[in-house]
Every structure is written in structure tokens, then in C-alpha cells.
């Protein structure tokens, strides 16, 4: 339909300086202190997600060190039982809700538009709103700590323990509302990424040319759409049970505490894959680049990621084997838990085949990938073990489980993430990191990790339960606990070195140039750091690794997009053929004020549910400000029917 509106031009002369000047002007950052709250650029917002998530990682790490110090020797009286409960609850909640998910979202928000060849995400203002919700949720939980209202019922807050009867006070309300904040943010990002990937890909980037990391973010986003509502329902019902006297989880009035476990784990298990799938996407990118060949089995990998997304929803009950389920249910969820190893296995073999067929270059990011292989396979194997009901019941609530999920989450997500940040750091800052320090850091982290968590398998098999604040000297657990605590210190040293490398390199690392790794995907075509408009001209994509097919200055380009306003090219969903031009909104403070209104509503409703209604009214004014058109147009084009 639009073919007659397009024309192909050979040998086109571009006034680069003029285009640059116009784009700099129309995409410029809002200035000053107020400008910080008006920012809508995906790179700025993405970076905020990543930095904020790392601050929470440090907080969660400090909590972990406190626990390891407490458990380092038997009968230690460093933390009292209540404080220990609070610390492990906040540690888990921080790592899951304030670090792992947001940091992956931040990477997606930052990288997806660059990797698919567009200038910003589809809804820049909504994107800013999502960040503020995440930030407020985190501040809210930590404010609770200082108000002596820290939650203490574990990161999954099982009812009836977390209900009004056994957890009076406001501790659990702070936890439940933190969930509402952060999940709202996750849902916002999911919509951002889905629509950006569906509609804003560079022309020619058909479905089979989308980089695997972008595929991973797309599948992850769909999982968020189907999983996060469950936990929002759950936390909302818990809040109502606690504040206005509903009975969802109260068996005395017909409710069922197990309903909490079902709704929570219906989110909680997909959550694992929500964290892990972006990790596999990162691994796929790193393996491709450093094996110096296109990935082996692209289609198989993409289909594996998609099927992981589906099967991930059929596993939640394996967290509940100890609750006394019907035999058939147990068998079904055991089978599903074993089934999910197949798509993961397919991906592993594709990565191995890529390395086998390429010339692997042992760079620092690649060492992180190797660490991922070692750790994640070990975590996957213990996962297969606990998929079996008799074994699971034996080790349920012991340190074996703690070991298992740290192997899969840190191995499956954090190591790829650290490698990915090292890899994309030049694109974010224009600087290279110190390779020697990077390599040492990776080894310290790998050794420290195994030192900390491998002994926990042994502890679990020897009966040490999780969530106990102390153990006696004659239990025989002292030496392994001491080892784990030493390992925790080693991890902390590795973490500090990682940050030192980042801060040092950001200041005086060598300049990287546009493409320091000779990678093939689009983000390496533009300058480092990427300009605010990402690409001077939107590239036309002719393959999976466009920069490996021809030098970046010979890539065909899109011309005719207006540079005097924030215009992007919308393409068709499947084949990414150009469809229409689209103006993205510019900086505005309204999303911040809507977030403040939402925040007042959520925060107030911890104390009185009417605040929730009040928050809705407060949001109304900034919402209208957000959407009210500023120009007096009063003209709408006659729309043709979509064909």
C-alpha cells in the first residue's frame, strides 16, 4: 500500500552537519534541576533503572553480609531473631523486586531501541512514570526499615503468618505496597518493550532478523504481562485482609491460606524466567560476538526462549509440594519442571555449537559467560533433583534450596548481566574498562560465589533449615557455614572491584570508538556514547548482523524523517516495512506528578484505604496535564481504512 509513497535513491548526498545540528536541537535534554524530572529519553531512564537497581543490589548485599556474619559461627548473638527475620525478608525482597527485575528492565529500556534502530521507546512519558514508580517503591520499603516497620515474613510472605492475626502492625503492609509499586513499574516497561519491538524496528528488520537479546526482552515482557497481575492481585488481597477486614486468606470465614501460595507462585515461578530469559539473551549476544560468527541455530534459540516463556507458567506448584497436593497435581508439575530443561538445553547446545564453529576470543565478557555456564549448569542440575517430589520434600526449607536458587539466579542472571554491562559499557560511556582488573574481578566473583553457595548444598542435605538465626555448636554445621561466610566476603571484594573498574574507566578509560568489539548488531553503528537521538539516520536492516555484512558507512539509510521534531519511523509488525512517520512526545514533568499522586495513594492506603481513592483524585489533574493537547488544531484527517 505504502510502496508508491516510498522512493529508493542511489548515491544520495547527506548534509551530515546540518542533520546533526537539527537532531541535537530537537532531541536535547531538558536542563537544570527541574529538567531531571522531565527526562523522557530511553537511555537516561534506562540508566536510572540500572543505577538505582545497583544501589539496591549494594543494600541487598550488605544485608546478605550481615546474615553471613551472624551465621559464621555457632550460637552467634550478633543479630536477634526478629532482626534476622527482617533482614532475610528485606534481602530477598530487595534482590527480587528492587534489583533483579528492574535491572533487566533497565537494560532492555536502554538497549532495545538502539538494537532495533530507532530513536526512543514507543511511549517515552509512560517510561518515565514507570521509573518513578520503581524508585518510590524502593524508597518506600527502605523508609519502612527506618520507621521500624520492616517486613519480617520472608520475601514470599506466606499467609497466615503474614495475615492480620499473626503479623499485626504495618510491617507486612509496607511489603505488600512495595510489591504494588514495583509490579506496576514492571508492567509499564513490559508494554513499552512489546510495542517498541512490534512497531519501531528499523525497516527490514523482519522477525527473523531481530537480535536474540531483543527477542528475549520481548518474551520476558509478555511473561510480565501474564505473571505480574497475579502478584498485584495477591498483594492487593493481602492488603485488604489486613486493613479492611476481607477474608481471602482467612480460613475461619471460608478463605484459604493456600490461595496466597497459588497466586503468589503463579507470579513467582514465571518471575524466575522473567529474570533469567534476559540473561540468556545477553549470553547469546556475547557468545555470537566473541565467537566471531553468526549464532548457530537462531530459530531453535528463539523458539526455545518462547517455549520457556510458555512452560514457565506451568511450574508454580513445584514450590508447594510440601503443602499436601493431589498425586496427579504433583506428577503434572514434576513433569513440567523436567520439561523446561529441554528448551534450556537446546539453547546451551546452540551456544556450544557457536563456540565450536567459531574462533572464540577470551575477553572479559566472555569469561563471565563461561562462569555463567559453570554455575548455571550446576544450578540446573540441582533444579532437576528438586523437581522430584520425594527429594523436594526431603530438602524443603533447607539450605539446599537456598543454594539452588542462588545458583540459578546469580548464575543465570547476574553473571550474564555483569558480562553484559562490561560489554555495553563502551556504548554507554564511550570508554573502555580495564581488562586486567576486569578479568581478576570475574575470577574473584566466580571463586567467591562457589565458596559461598556450594557448601550450602551440603548444609541442606545435612538438615540445616533456612531462615533460622542461629544453630548450636554440636550440629556439625559450623565449618561449612564458616566457609560460606568467607566466600561472602570474597564476593563483596569482587563487587567492590567491579564498581572500582566502572568508576575508574568512566573517568579515564581509553576511548572506545563506535565499535570496540567488532560486533555486528546495530547499536555499534552509532557513536559511543550514543547520541540522544541514537542514529543520525535510521539504518535499513538487511540481515541479523548488519555490521558484519558491510562496513557501517555503507549501510543503506532512511532519509526524509523530519529532524526538527522528534520523529520516528513506524514499521509493519511482521516484515518491518515502513508504514508511517510518528512524532514522539518531548520532555514533561507530568509523569512525575502522576507518580507522586499514585505514590500518595499507595502509601496512604497502608494506613487507610480511602487514601487510595484520594490518590486517584490527585492523579486526575496531572493526567489531564499529561494528555491535554497544547496546540489549537481542531482538524482531524479523514482516516483511510486499514487494509
Amino acid at each position: 500500500m505504502s510502496a508508491d509513497l516510498l522512493s529508493t535513491i542511489d548515491q544520495y548526498e547527506i548534509d551530515e552537519a546540518a542533520a546533526k545540528r537539527d537532531l541535537e536541537n530537537s532531541w536535547r535534554a531538558p536542563g537544570g534541576f527541574i529538567g531531571w524530572f522531565q527526562e523522557v529519553n530511553h537511555k537516561a531512564i534506562g540508566l536510572r533503572y540500572i543505577v538505582t537497581a545497583f544501589i539496591f543490589l549494594i543494600a541487598g548485599g550488605i544485608e546478605a553480609l550481615l546474615m553471613r556474619y551472624q551465621l559464621a559461627i555457632p550460637d552467634h548473638r550478633f543479630l536477634n531473631p526478629n532482626l534476622y527475620n527482617e533482614i532475610f525478608t528485606i534481602h530477598g525482597s530487595t534482590m527480587m523486586f528492587l534489583f533483579a527485575v528492574p535491572v533487566m528492565e533497565g537494560m532492555g529500556i536502554y538497549l532495545v531501541p538502539l538494537m532495533i534502530g530507532t530513536r526512543n521507546v514507543a511511549f517515552p512519558r509512560l517510561n518515565a512514570y514507570g521509573y518513578y514508580m520503581f524508585l518510590f517503591g524502593g524508597i518506600f520499603l527502605y523508609a519502612g526499615i527506618f520507621l521500624n516497620m520492616a517486613p519480617d515474613a520472608g520475601w514470599f510472605a506466606y499467609t497466615p503468618l503474614s495475615g492480620p492475626q499473626f503479623s499485626p502492625g504495618k510491617r507486612l503492609d509496607f511489603w505488600a505496597q512495595m510489591i504494588t509499586f514495583t509490579e506496576l513499574s514492571a508492567l509499564v516497561v513490559a508494554i513499552e518493550i512489546i510495542v517498541t519491538v512490534i512497531k519501531l524496528r528499523g525497516p527490514g528488520m523482519s522477525l527473523d532478523r531481530i537480535p536474540i537479546f531483543v527477542w528475549a526482552m520481548l518474551v520476558q515482557s509478555f511473561m510480565v504481562v501474564f505473571a505480574m497481575p497475579a502478584v498485584m492481585d495477591a498483594s492487593g488481597m493481602l492488603m485488604m485482609d489486613r486493613t479492611i477486614g476481607t477474608h481471602f486468606f482467612n480460613p475461619a470465614e471460608g478463605g484459604d491460606p493456600l490461595l496466597w501460595q497459588h497466586t503468589f507462585w503463579f507470579f513467582g515461578h514465571p518471575e524466575v524466567y522473567i529474570i533469567f530469559i534476559p540473561g540468556t539473551g545477553m549470553v547469546a549476544e556475547l557468545v555470537t560476538v566473541f565467537s566471531r560468527r553468526p549464532i548457530f541455530g537462531y530459530t531453535a534459540i528463539v523458539l526455545s526462549i518462547i517455549s520457556t516463556g510458555f512452560i514457565g507458567f506451568g511450574l508454580w506448584v513445584h514450590h508447594m509440594f510440601a503443602t499436601g497436593l493431589p498425586q496427579l497435581g504433583e506428577s503434572f508439575f514434576t513433569a513440567a519442571s523436567l520439561l523446561i530443561t529441554i528448551p534450556t538445553g537446546v539453547q546451551f547446545f546452540c551456544w556450544l555449537a557457536t563456540m565450536w564453529g567459531g574462533r572464540p576470543k577470551l575477553t572479559v565478557p566472555f569469561w563471565y559467560v563461561i562462569s555463567f555456564f559453570i554455575i548455571f549448569v550446576a544450578g540446573g542440575l540441582s533444579g532437576v533433583m528438586i523437581a522430584s517430589v520425594p527429594f523436594d520434600i526431603q530438602v524443603h526449607d533447607t539450605f539446599f534450596i537456598v543454594a539452588h536458587f542462588h545458583y540459578v539466579l546469580i548464575g543465570g542472571a547476574v553473571f550474564p548481566l555483569l558480562g553484559a554491562i562490561y560489554y555495553w559499557f563502551p556504548k554507554m560511556t564511550g570508554r573502555l574498562q580495564d581488562d586486567r582488573l576486569g578479568l581478576i574481578t570475574c575470577w574473584i566473583l566466580l571463586i567467591g560465589f562457589n565458596l559461598t553457595f556450594f557448601p550450602m548444598h551440603w548444609l541442606g542435605l545435612h538438615g540445616m533449615p533456612r531462615r533460622v538465626y542461629a544453630y548450636s555448636a554440636n550440629s556439625g554445621w559450623a565449618s561449612m557455614n564458616a566457609l560460606a561466610s568467607i566466600g561472602a566476603v570474597v564476593i563483596a571484594v569482587g563487587g567492590i572491584l567491579y564498581l572500582v573498574n566502572i568508576f575508574r574507566s568512566k573517568r579515564d578509560g581509553g576511548f572506545s570508538g563506535p565499535n570496540p568489539w567488532q560486533a555486528g548488531t546495530l547499536e555499534w553503528m552509532t557513536d559511543s556514547p550514543a547520541p540522544r537521538y541514537n542514529f543520525l539516520h535510521i539504518p535499513i536492516v538487511s540481515g541479523r548482523e548488519p555490521l558484519w555484512e558491510r562496513p557501517s558507512d555503507e549501510i543503506p539509510l532512511v532519509i526524509g524523517l523530519r529532524t526538527d521534531r522528534r520523529e520516528v519511523l513506524v514499521t509493519r509488525t511482521l516484515e518491518a516495512s515502513p508504514d508511517h512517520r510518528y512524532v514522539l512526545p518531548g520532555p514533561t514533568i507530568w509523569p512525575f506528578w502522576v507518580a507522586v499522586g499514585t505514590g500518595i495513594g499507595f502509601t496512604g492506603s497502608v494506613f487507610n484505604m480511602w487514601w487510595f481513592v484520594l490518590g486517584g483524585f490527585i492523579c486526575f489533574v496531572p493526567f489531564v496535564g499529561w494528555f491535554w493537547p497544547h496546540r489549537n488544531i481542531n482538524f482531524v484527517p479523514k482516516m483511510e481504512k486499514p487494509k
Binding site: 525497516p203 490461595l259 520523529e567 493537547p629 489549537n632
Partner: protein, 205 residues
């Protein structure tokens, strides 16, 4: 700089309706999320129901059907002006669209007024027992959505009569309509669950 090959897109339109517009997909995504929110609560309803031999629990009075049924018909009818208004907006007739949107708003406000009567017809509170909790959360959540979309319609009406309609607001007006159809369709499901299902169990229908 010389480019070997370039694609000139300057003649492409700078807005497009329906599935071609990014915001259409955004709206569908948000509606998908809301649908999952309801689906999880409906699943919880049936999960809780498994633990009961008598459903609804004995102390719950049989549902009143007259007002709720009238209200269901009202919200379904209110989709008609929304649809006609959507047609008008496609054809660029803003005045006509504003008229039909206004009619929809009046009907939506009527729906919300009768909703208050519906709440009053329940002989139980959310705190009576788990059945009360489930019904109140379902109806309450649906009411929140109906209020939200009515508010959106009012703002759009304001934009129309103040003469600020542009291509983006045109798409927004269509999406407001799609959202209202969703609110109505969701109420059909909830109406069956809240009024018809217990009536059948109690032998009233």
C-alpha cells in the same frame, strides 16, 4: 557524506489509525493486563468455591436481579453511541462525534449511579465472609475501571468541544471507545458470575 542507497520516507503519512498506530498496541496491552487481573480473581473465586459444599454460603441472600439486569442492558446500550461517535471521528466530523460521546457519557454516569444501588442490594459486606470479599473486589474493581474510562471520555469530550482535536487525539478517541467496549464486555462476564451463577445454584433460574 554520500550514501550508496537511501530510502526516502518523507511522503509517508505522519499518523495512521488502528493496528498501525503504536498507541493501539499499547492500549491492547494494558487491556490484556487488566483482563489477566480479572482472570486471576475469577480463578481465585472458583478455587475458594472448591472448599464449600453449599455455594453461595447459606447466610448470603439470593441475588436481586432487576436493577443489575437493567444496568447490564444500559452499559451494553451505551456502546452504541460510542460506536457511532467512533465512526464520526473516522470521518473527521468532530461535532457529531462530540454529540455521541456526550450521550455515552450520560449513559455511563447513569450506569455508575445504578451501580451504587447494586452495591446497596448486597445483603453482605466485604468483611462478612470470603464470598462477600470476592464479590466486592470484583464489582469494586470493575467500578474503578468504569469510573476511569468515563473520566477519560469526559476529558476527550472537553478536548473536542475546546477545538483541540488532532491526529493523536483522534486515535485516543477511538481507543477510549475500545476501552469502553472492554468495560462492558467484562461486565457481561462478571454479571454471569455474580448474579446468574448463584441464581442457578439456588434454583431461581
Amino acid at each position: 557524506m554520500t550514501v550508496e542507497r537511501a530510502l526516502d520516507v518523507s511522503n509517508l503519512p505522519d499518523a495512521a489509525p488502528g493496528t498501525r498506530a503504536p498507541v493501539w498496541w499499547g492500549q491492547i496491552g494494558m487491556m490484556l493486563i487488566e483482563t489477566v487481573v480479572f482472570a486471576i480473581i475469577i480463578a481465585s473465586y472458583f478455587y475458594i468455591r472448591l472448599g464449600f459444599s453449599v455455594w453461595p454460603p447459606p447466610d448470603i441472600a439470593p441475588p436481586e436481579l432487576w436493577w443489575p439486569t437493567a444496568n447490564l442492558i444500559l452499559i451494553l446500550l451505551s456502546c452504541i453511541p460510542m460506536f457511532i461517535g467512533g465512526k464520526a471521528i473516522d470521518e473527521g466530523r468532530i461535532g457529531t462525534a462530540a454529540f455521541w460521546l456526550g450521550l455515552n457519557i450520560i449513559m455511563a454516569l447513569g450506569f455508575l449511579a445504578i451501580r451504587i444501588i447494586e452495591f446497596n442490594l448486597f445483603n453482605f459486606k466485604w468483611s462478612t465472609d470470603v464470598y462477600g470479599s470476592l464479590i466486592w473486589i470484583l464489582v469494586g474493581l470493575h467500578t474503578m475501571h468504569a469510573i476511569a474510562d468515563t473520566t477519560e471520555s469526559i476529558v476527550l469530550f472537553g478536548i473536542m468541544v475546546s477545538g483541540r482535536m488532532g491526529a493523536k487525539q483522534q486515535i485516543a478517541a477511538k481507543l477510549d471507545g475500545i476501552y469502553w467496549y472492554w468495560v462492558a464486555a467484562m461486565w457481561v462476564v462478571l454479571y454471569i458470575l455474580i448474579y446468574i451463577y448463584p441464581s442457578i445454584r439456588l434454583g431461581m433460574l
